[in-house]
């Protein structure tokens, strides 16, 4: 019993630290101007002393949300920009990545291993390594400062291929062989054996992808010059502490889709993460 309590305590402490930012944002977004000034005044300038932790709003109000929705039309534009980017990238990754992952997992063609190693190396390259080549590519295609350009750069990311590969790899060879003996074509095997059995992997890759691209920062920051094309992830930090009320409400609204996907797909998310750790 004692052992259990000793285990619970550090875990609970860590769990609290992990979840606290959400409580902070929720509490802040439900406060009125007066209360925000009271607790954050020190950081906003003006009042003396230090910032107080905003625990629970004493007089909860939705006024921040009303203000954001009525007075900040740009918020909707940026929210919609984020949706467009994420949808475009994920659809593209489905179209190109899923068949590729299947081909790498169950195919038998020359240089399969070597090509897959290239994919893994590309997956490791951070944005700054590919920044110049991305720029030159978009420049040549006249896609700088467009959503299309950003989508193109991420559609061929090799990370989802790697995740889905791990799941397709787990489809028993005997099943594939049986379908082949029954006269199924390669496409039929993919659609009727591969996809149904590998679908958890596809969903995992999409959940991981959503969380990643909803948060997309470096490419839009570099390649989008027009502010009206910005996704939420660039708009939020630009609000500044002087408009703390709006910043709180906007942060919570940006958080909601991500938390929703997280809660709906937690099992798949875990499987997707864990898939990488299992040795081939």
């Amino acid at each position: 019993m004692i052992w259990k309590k000793m285990v619970m305590f550090p875990l609970a402490l860590l769990a609290f630290a992990a979840v606290y930012p959400i409580c902070f944002l929720l509490a802040g977004s439900l406060m009125g101007s007066g209360e925000i000034k009271e607790s954050l005044g020190a950081a906003l300038g003006g009042s003396a002393g230090y910032v107080q932790i905003p625990w629970l709003p004493r007089y909860p109000t939705l006024v921040s949300y009303v203000e954001l929705l009525l007075d900040s039309p740009e918020f909707f534009v940026m929210f919609w920009n984020s949706v467009k980017l994420v949808a475009g990238i994920l659809l593209g990754q489905l179209a190109f990545g899923v068949p590729a992952a299947w081909g790498f997992a169950k195919g038998t063609f020359p240089f399969r291993k070597a090509l897959f190693t290239v994919y893994i190396l590309l997956m490791m390259m951070p944005f700054q390594v590919l920044m110049l080549s991305d720029h030159l590519l978009l420049d040549r295609l006249h896609l700088l400062d467009t959503h299309m350009g950003l989508i193109l750069l991420s559609v061929f990311s090799t990370f989802p291929v790697f995740i889905m590969y791990r799941f397709f790899d787990g489809v028993p060879d005997a099943l594939v062989e049986a379908a082949r003996l029954d006269g199924a074509s390669q496409w039929q095997i993919f659609f009727y054996v591969g996809l149904p059995l590998g679908s958890p992997g596809v969903i995992s890759a999409m959940v991981l992808g959503f969380l990643e691209y909803w948060n997309l920062m470096e490419p839009p920051m570099t390649f989008l010059k027009s502010k009206e094309l910005w996704p939420l992830s660039l708009y939020l930090p630009a609000i500044g502490l002087d408009r703390a009320k709006v910043a709180f409400a906007a942060s919570v609204l940006a958080l909601i889709p991500a938390i929703f996907v997280f809660l709906a797909g937690q099992d798949h998310l875990e499987k997707g993460i864990a898939a990488a750790a299992v040795k081939e």
Binding site: I22, A100, G103, I120, Q128, L132, F190
Partner: protein, 282 residues
């Protein structure tokens, strides 16, 4: 009885890979090869300059600072995260109930957009923020934390906050791969908790170590987001990372430096992956 022959398979599957491979080649590989070429020619003149661009980059003070900071960051963060997440995974593994709840809590930072979390970061580390308030209560010196060398450590904490759950799930997957019969056999032989850990758990986790390290390095490059959002283009020296440097080069249109820098950076990652692979899988 008809003799069942194995139908020759030949080259199957290549057509599935082809569309993706064409995209990767056209949009990633060929542009990068062009960057490699550019790293050997002058930015404006377009004539062969040999290793001159590399010399410029290596003698650049900003590059040395950024590369040094990035290396220091990896050197501090990766071992720290690996140990902490392993500890959390072991604690969670020994707990039989509430496991799903705790996993959810630890993973949630992955879902919190950096842009949303940055508001809290600003309030925490402001000169008159929560941390300063706490230091004041304890009669310790306060500071504008992001403007001091503490900025580096704030970045370390952000990284660990964000990735603890991710690595923990990876470790848990590794732990579940160790056969329970090994532990049972050891217990029958009278091995204690500590002995089980040293002789069964640790060796059993070794194969996962490579993948977990590689993925942790992969995720460590994303910490630039926090750094940039909290401190902008020119943060405190201690957290000036390679991504900041590349951004500044991009703004100045220093294509020659960017090209040579990208090749060096890519080479370093390539070597790191090879090294880790040889070390643990060899």
């Amino acid at each position: 009885m008809i003799e069942r022959k194995k139908i020759p398979r030949g080259q199957t599957g290549f057509l599935f890979v082809l569309p993706s491979l064409v995209g990767v080649t056209l949009f990633i590989l060929i542009p990068f090869v062009d960057v490699v070429r550019r790293s050997f020619v002058g930015a404006a003149s377009g004539i062969w300059v040999g290793l001159a661009n590399y010399q410029t980059v290596f003698s650049n003070r900003a590059f040395r600072l950024a590369a040094g900071n990035t290396l220091r960051f990896e050197g501090v963060c990766i071992p720290l995260l690996l140990v902490l997440s392993l500890a959390a995974a072991l604690l969670l593994d020994s707990l039989k109930d509430h496991v799903q709840f705790f996993k959810g809590c630890f993973l949630i930072p992955m879902a919190i957009p950096v842009a949303s979390a940055v508001l809290l970061w600003k309030v925490l580390f402001h000169e008159r923020g929560l941390l300063s308030g706490l230091m004041h209560m304890l009669h310790l010196p306060e500071a504008d934390w992001m403007g001091t060398s503490w900025a580096f450590w704030i970045l370390v904490v952000s990284y660990i906050w964000k990735n603890l759950g991710y690595d923990m799930v990876l470790w848990l997957a590794g732990l579940s791969g160790i056969s329970p019969s090994l532990y049972e056999a050891a217990q029958v032989d009278g091995a204690g908790r500590g002995q089980c850990f040293i002789y069964i758990t640790l060796p059993g986790l070794l194969p996962s170590l490579f993948t977990i390290s590689v993925l942790s390095v992969l995720n460590s490059f994303k910490v630039f987001r926090e750094a940039y959002l909290v401190a902008g283009d020119y943060p405190h020296e201690s957290m000036y990372l390679l991504q900041h440097l590349f951004n500044n080069w991009y703004r100045d249109l220093s294509m020659d430096k960017m090209a040579a820098g990208a090749v060096v950076h890519a080479g370093a990652i390539f070597l790191l992956v090879l090294f880790l692979q040889r070390k643990w899988e060899g």
